[in-house]
């Protein structure tokens, strides 16, 4: 059952995520991207989905029925190998539409005090 009280709750990871050059090369190679100098636009999903899992589990979404509904990225600064990224996630909305439970989590990514990217993941647990 979806817990509506989850809206507004924030979770900040205790540790930073280390972006290795190797992980950028692996990600680029998988998708056929030839420019390894910076993380591709969707690379941060590696960080944000894992870090927001705590909130998503707390939200009460039926995990077995979850599909990815929407995804959005705002990219302010390139993310490169060696970056230490801190992720802070907040539940922006939790609602039920036609029996489907829909949760949107915003994740803000920081390198020290610099805000490098934000992403929004909307997950849907189908009725």
């Amino acid at each position: 059952m979806l817990n509506p009280d989850i809206v507004g709750r924030t979770f900040t990871s205790a540790n930073t995520f280390t972006v290795t050059k190797e992980s950028i090369i692996e990600f680029c190679t998988a998708i056929g991207e030839l420019d390894f100098t910076a993380a591709p636009p969707t690379y941060t999903i590696k960080i944000s989905l894992a870090e927001s899992e705590v909130l998503l589990k707390e939200s009460g979404l039926n995990w077995d029925r979850v599909v990815h509904g929407d995804q959005k990225f705002e990219l302010h600064q390139p993310i490169v190998g060696g970056d230490q990224i801190l992720c802070s996630s907040t539940v922006e909305s939790a609602r039920i539409v036609a029996g489907n439970e829909i949760v949107t989590v915003r994740s803000d990514l920081y390198r020290s005090s610099e805000h490098v990217a934000s992403s929004w993941a909307t997950l849907v647990s189908r009725a």
């Binding site: 990600f27 998988a30 998708i31 100098t37 591709p40 969707t42 989905l49 995804q71 990225f73 929004w120």
Partner: protein
């Protein structure tokens, strides 16, 4: 940082169609993407499991489709020039064993402002749209 092609950008006008591109999705790519992204959900690799949860076959990660579309946008924009990128996953990309599934991606220029260009992207497999409301904002430097 890669070269940002201002001269290429200058050929774009509002309403212009951007050349389409085909991407191949197959089981090998699903394994490579699972390893690179960390998303090892078996619905993207194991046919029996996928069918046990009601899918017709293994499906691609939505984020893999978005990553390939992201590559298309990066090739238009130049490295580091993609400022916003969003999509809704409307249909799964079904990937049978030993099959190359074609993802056809194209885009249209929605608006050009002094320092950015907005594009609307279409992504389809076998004529069926797999993304909707797919948009990107590209910096013009």
């Amino acid at each position: 940082m890669g070269y940002f092609g201002l001269s290429r950008m200058s050929i774009f006008v509002t309403g212009a169609e951007i050349a389409p591109k085909n991407f191949i999705i197959n089981r090998e790519l699903l394994v490579a993407y699972a390893n690179a992204s960390g998303d090892q959900n078996p619905i993207h690799q194991n046919e029996a499991f996928a069918q046990s949860v009601g899918l017709e076959n293994v499906i691609a990660h939505g984020m893999l489709t978005m990553a390939l579309v992201g590559r298309y946008v990066s090739e238009i924009a130049g490295s580091g020039a993609v400022k916003e990128f969003a999509a809704r996953f409307v249909k799964p990309v079904v990937v049978p064993a030993s099959t190359d599934v074609e993802l056809l991606v194209s885009a249209k220029v929605l608006a050009i402002e002094s320092n950015e260009m907005k594009i609307e992207i279409t992504a389809s497999c076998k004529g069926v749209k797999v993304l909707s409301m797919a948009k990107a904002v590209i910096a013009i430097r």
